[in-house]
Assembly symmetry: C2
């Protein structure tokens, strides 16, 4: 039966169309100001259709949230080839900072907004696979660093969490508008130079 398969494919396509319309509007006019009606208009479907393919708005948020993590992951995976773990760690952070600066709205959706996580809770999915997968890449690298004698006397989990937290922290101030407190330089510069401070700190271990 090719029909059933085609229908499945079409369903998937329309789901993606809705997501891409949503993403376009998110980037154009901001996440908060994008409504279901806007999304429906954008892709020339009715409101009701959107609700056939997505249970509610949070599920749309979650869909884009997932896409964002896939994108970030695909940027990170090639770096697993870097043999020296400290170099790999620094490169991972660099990619991460670039991603956050290039995609502040996506970054906000992925790491600040409640909605995507609220959907996971509603859907009783207590696991956040995308986050976990990304975390694993980092943990593996930090583990390799420990094995090579870096960060002596530190524990894997809290250290990994600390490193992610650090890079996330300097990025998130940028994406959520809390960076004005040091106004002498443009905020992107401040984020990058802070990350440089961080890598030069890590190098000593």
């Amino acid at each position: 039966m090719g029909v059933a398969e085609r229908k499945l494919r079409e369903k998937e396509q329309l789901k993606n169309l809705i997501l891409s319309g949503a993403k376009k509007l998110f980037l154009e006019k901001g996440i908060e100001k994008t409504t279901i009606r806007n999304i429906a208009d954008e892709i020339d479907y009715s409101i009701g259709t959107v609700y056939v393919y997505f249970k509610d708005k949070d599920e749309i948020f979650n869909g884009l949230h997932s896409q964002g993590f896939q994108q970030l992951r695909s940027l990170m995976l090639p770096l697993l080839k870097v043999n020296d773990p400290m170099e790999r760690l620094k490169a991972l952070g660099h990619i991460y900072v670039d991603f956050a600066l290039d995609n502040p709205d996506m970054y906000e959706l992925m790491f600040s907004m409640k909605a995507p996580m609220a959907y996971l809770e509603k859907a009783r999915m207590d696991e956040w696979n995308e986050g976990q997968a990304t975390f694993e890449i980092l943990r593996k690298t930090v583990g390799d660093c420990l094995e090579k004698g870096h960060f002596q006397g530190h524990q894997l989990n809290p250290l990994t969490y600390l490193i992610w937290g650090t890079v996330h922290g300097i990025c998130s101030f940028n994406s959520n508008g809390r960076i004005m407190c040091v106004q002498e330089e443009p905020s992107e510069e401040l984020v990058r130079s802070s990350y440089e401070e961080f890598t030069s700190l890590m190098e000593r271990f």
Copy 2:
């Protein structure tokens, strides 16, 4: 004229009453689910009255945002007495982490939500005084550390920003629900142990 003064005082009081009602509901049922009608009900005034005292909902968010920074600041100021700057730095971070863990909703309002900053922009107040003031406490302390020979070869601004970013990063994962990726331990423990990792890293400089 005592009347005008009394009226001013009463105005201030009602403003505070609205804010405290809002805060109560925020903590009770979450920020997102608190409506203007709820706030008005809570304090036995009408919707309209709320709008006499606050231009819009963002201004209420901003009011609580300010109160949060005042509270955090008042927790930090006593630590300026600590003479050794590295000890002071660690103590400041500790206070900060405690505040974030004890007040996750307030923390989210202060450092993640768009609304309070959106209000500043709307009101054409390009300065974020509360944030700046808090940042200054930290910058002063980091500056003292540099003078005493810590963090050699690092620059004041990016380093200060990095340190704030680090502590904020590990806290924010907790308040915005992105901490599930390491599930072996309760999230509060992970935040605290990560902060310990951080202080023990800093101590070496």
